[in-house]
């Protein structure tokens, strides 16, 4: 059901762990849905010099976390904010429809960390306009066509 890329990132996840004294930390998801992602960023200037994650969740939650950290490491904050869930999913050679919410979660986790960072530092990023880290996203629509049953 998963691509080889997903299985690779699941079984050998990159950047697992915590960053002591991280500059930015963001956590999204909740245990009810079975996925919690926590991201730690080390930021120098406007560059993300290090990133780590911890994830409670299914195979694709772990794989998307891993892929997302790889994709933003060494990038600017702006670039990181422009990371979309589709880009993460594509980088993994796709996700099953029922798992697309995991990639959404990964995007949200990056945003949440930067949101917290911006709040602390009094910075403003237009990419974060309208973003609310506590919002309950309907990321658990499993995409079944329940049409009429």
């Amino acid at each position: 059901m998963y691509s080889e890329k997903v299985m690779d990132h699941f079984s050998n996840p990159r950047n697992v762990g915590e960053i002591e004294n991280a500059d930015a930390v963001g956590q999204v998801g909740n245990a009810k849905c079975g996925d919690i992602m926590k991201m730690y960023l080390k930021i120098e200037g406007d560059t993300i010099v290090d990133v780590k994650f911890k994830t409670f969740g299914c195979g694709s939650a772990i794989a998307t976390s891993s892929m997302a950290t790889e994709m933003i490491k060494g990038k600017t904050i702006k670039e990181a904010l422009n990371l979309t869930n589709r880009a993460v999913a594509e980088a993994l050679d796709g996700l099953p429809p029922v798992k697309m919410h995991c990639s959404v979660l990964a995007e949200q986790a990056v945003k949440a960390a930067i949101y917290n960072y911006a709040k602390e530092k009094g910075l403003h990023f237009e990419e974060l306009e309208g973003f609310n880290p506590d919002e309950e996203h309907d990321h658990h629509d499993h995409g079944h066509d329940e049409e009429d049953h």
């Binding site: 697992v16 009810k32 079975g34 911890k54 994830t55 195979g59």
Partner: protein, 392 residues
């Protein structure tokens, strides 16, 4: 080939060789339609009759009380909707539990849309219904009680005989889903006071796509598959002769040495449970400690999520499940685990390992060896675990 350890016998079982051998001639040699008059048909009619009688004997039922279906789900749907439709003029209240298989639960929910009233009984921390609550739920318009014999996820066995007695006292039809119990528990439908019972062959080393509904003589029930005159006019469709023959053989094998079979399963299962409990912290057994299916081990492993666990187990060749296999199309936490009071996160971390006739001690020991490092690895990735390590 890589080591493969199958511990998902509650999802489905491999067919036994004796079963397949018994079925083979009916695919292309003795293939006639048993409803036909000619010899191609007649010889099959007697094969079907034989299987029916073998199964009836294992249940202490009459041969004219066994009606073959296309599986356990159909039998559940039939038992419930068939009675609801037959008795709706008498009343529209049905009693069931919160821990039923989806084949029962979703059928009851469909009845609700159709104007029926359904009471879903709570269960205790072990998944047991409370007899008092059952009694209290009975109303003058209650027409059906449907309570499963043994739970497919946590293995808990309900007090069927007491339920049967109450149903009889109140003159309410009693259906039980015994798909998981059959072959693992001795079942005497008369002694237990069962009016309707669903079984499925593929859980007892028989073929998929065949089940049955036991219908006690005199029980009022409508068909749900209308058509030809098969199954004494109660379930239409050309008889699935090879599968019926296979079901009969599987039933025979299951009951000819049931005590031995159960003992073996219990021994291995306890070895597994004890081994895991010794090696892994923060885990606990779900379901009743003793009133449970012999092959069922269901544990909650805190701080991690079940699908990830299953994938890692799969990589080392171990096949288990997290919640019911039938529900894995949805990854919502299992309704059964919620009903026994687990939190969402603990429910998500449940692992069901079910042992069967081909499981060896070696298999069990392999799991006891492989699971702890996998759990530790996933916990290391989990943001829920850090707090504990820091705190507790």
């Amino acid at each position: 080939m890589k080591k493969r350890v199958y511990l998902d016998y509650s999802a489905t079982t491999p067919m036994k060789k004796e079963v397949l051998d018994e079925m083979l001639p009916f695919f292309n040699v003795q293939f006639g339609n048993p409803s036909s008059i000619h010899c191609f048909g007649r010889e099959n009619k007697s094969a079907v009759d034989k299987a029916r009688s073998t199964i009836a004997k294992t249940l202490n039922a009459g041969v004219d009380e066994i009606f073959f279906t296309g599986g356990g789900s159909e039998a559940d749907n039939w038992g419930i909707k068939g009675v609801a439709n037959a008795l709706k003029d008498k009343g529209k209240h049905v009693i069931t539990t919160k821990v039923e298989h989806h084949a029962v639960l979703h059928t009851c929910q469909y009845l609700e849309k159709d104007g029926f009233d359904v009471t879903y009984l709570d269960v205790d921390q072990y998944g047991m219904i409370k007899i008092d609550e059952l009694k209290a739920a009975i109303r003058p318009d209650t027409i059906l009680i449907t309570i499963m014999f043994a739970n497919n996820e946590i293995g808990t066995i309900q007090p069927i005989k007491e339920i049967g007695k109450i149903a009889k006292d109140y003159k309410i039809t009693f259906h039980t889903d015994a798909v998981q119990a059959y072959g693992n528990v001795k079942i005497d439908v008369k002694d237990l006071g069962i009016d309707l019972m669903s079984l499925s062959a593929h859980k007892i080393y028989g073929p998929k796509g065949i089940g049955l509904l036991y219908i006690k003589k005199g029980t009022k029930i409508h068909p749900i598959i209308h058509g030809g005159a098969q199954e004494r006019r109660r379930r239409a469709g050309t008889e699935n002769v090879p599968a019926i023959v296979g079901f009969g053989k599987a039933a025979e094998l299951a009951y000819e040495n049931i005590d031995e079979h159960v003992n073996q399963l219990v021994t291995l299962r306890n070895r597994l449970i004890n081994g895991l409990q010794e090696k892994i912290p923060y885990i606990h057994l779900n379901g009743h400690p003793t009133k449970r299916l012999p092959g069922n081990c269901n544990i909650s492993i805190e701080f991690i999520e079940g699908e990830a666990l299953l994938l890692m187990l799969d990589m080392v060749g171990i096949a288990g499940s997290s919640g019911s296999a039938c529900t894995s199309g949805s990854l919502d936490p299992s309704h059964v685990l919620m009903a026994i009071g687990l939190t969402h996160e603990v429910a998500h971390g449940s692992l069901r390992l079910t042992i069967g006739d081909y499981t060896t001690e070696e298999d069990v020991d392999y799991v006891i060896e492989q699971l702890p490092p996998i759990v530790e690895r996933l916990r290391q990735m989990s943001p829920l675990y850090e707090k504990v390590k820091g705190g507790r």
